[in-house]
Symmetry: C2
Subunit: 154 residues, 2 copies
């Protein structure tokens, strides 16, 4: 019915880690720098929010490794095999990540954040402020493996 969707890179991650790791992202600080085609007013007002969602592209993931069906999260034999859309692993169709970060500051075209699990150079395709009204309505329920996988993540 229609072909693909073409996205542009709006910003890039600078600083932070240079290699992907499973855990302990909580204290990592990085900056998100707007591409030169965007005016710095694009980030204006973000400093009034405590948190932002960063939508980014896992560009270091080899497309050949992307899973379209089910797999065990992190390959752990003690966790169930679940669909790629029932987990947050990076070898996923379209290789998009969505992470909530703390906003440390905005200076012109640079957004400083803490807790972004994306490495140096990662292409960013959207930034959204976290609004209380967009948070989950009702209590969050999750399976045990999902609680366990996040134990040392931050």
């Amino acid at each position: 019915m229609m072909g693909g969707i073409e996205l542009e890179v709006v910003a890039r991650v600078h600083g932070g880690r240079i290699e992907n790791e499973d855990d302990r992202w909580g204290d990592v600080e990085a900056t998100i720098v707007l591409e030169s085609s965007f005016p710095e007013t694009a980030f204006a007002g973000l400093e009034a929010f405590s948190h932002a969602l960063i939508v980014f592209h896992f560009d270091l993931i080899d497309p050949e490794t992307v899973v379209t069906g089910a797999r065990r999260p992190r390959g752990r034999a003690d966790w169930p095999e679940v669909g790629i859309f029932a987990q947050r692993g990076s070898p996923r169709p379209n290789r998009l990540g969505v992470t909530c970060v703390e906003i440390l500051g905005v200076e012109g075209r640079t957004l400083r954040v803490r807790g972004l699990d994306a490495v140096e150079g990662t292409p960013v395709v959207d930034v959204k402020p976290v609004m209380r009204g967009f948070e989950p309505r009702g209590t969050i329920v999750e399976p045990d493996w999902a609680t366990e996988i996040m134990k040392d993540y931050w």
Copy 2:
């Protein structure tokens, strides 16, 4: 340094509203149906979660109307002009939406959800389970206009 990023449509929204509206999305029920190129195991295990993030493309937004700098949310004169990445409006670069929905059920290639603010036919580019560990760390702070804009949204 690099060109664009090409995404594929992984699923489509069926049911729900056929026209975009500003408010009262909370009770809208819809289904998200996997494209035929994906095995139904892609959704397996989502039923163990109460909520999912739906990443979709605002394909009805005319690219000519996309704002790259600042604007007043909903054009409201009583709200401040803020950058497009400091608000959640749809005429944004890459026209991506990220919404947290309630999971009602999974049947094969069909995910039934409540509270998705995307109309019939909308292309979906990712689905992620909501895990408590990916929720904002610390208290969410937002400006007054962001609280006000969500008053009748659900």
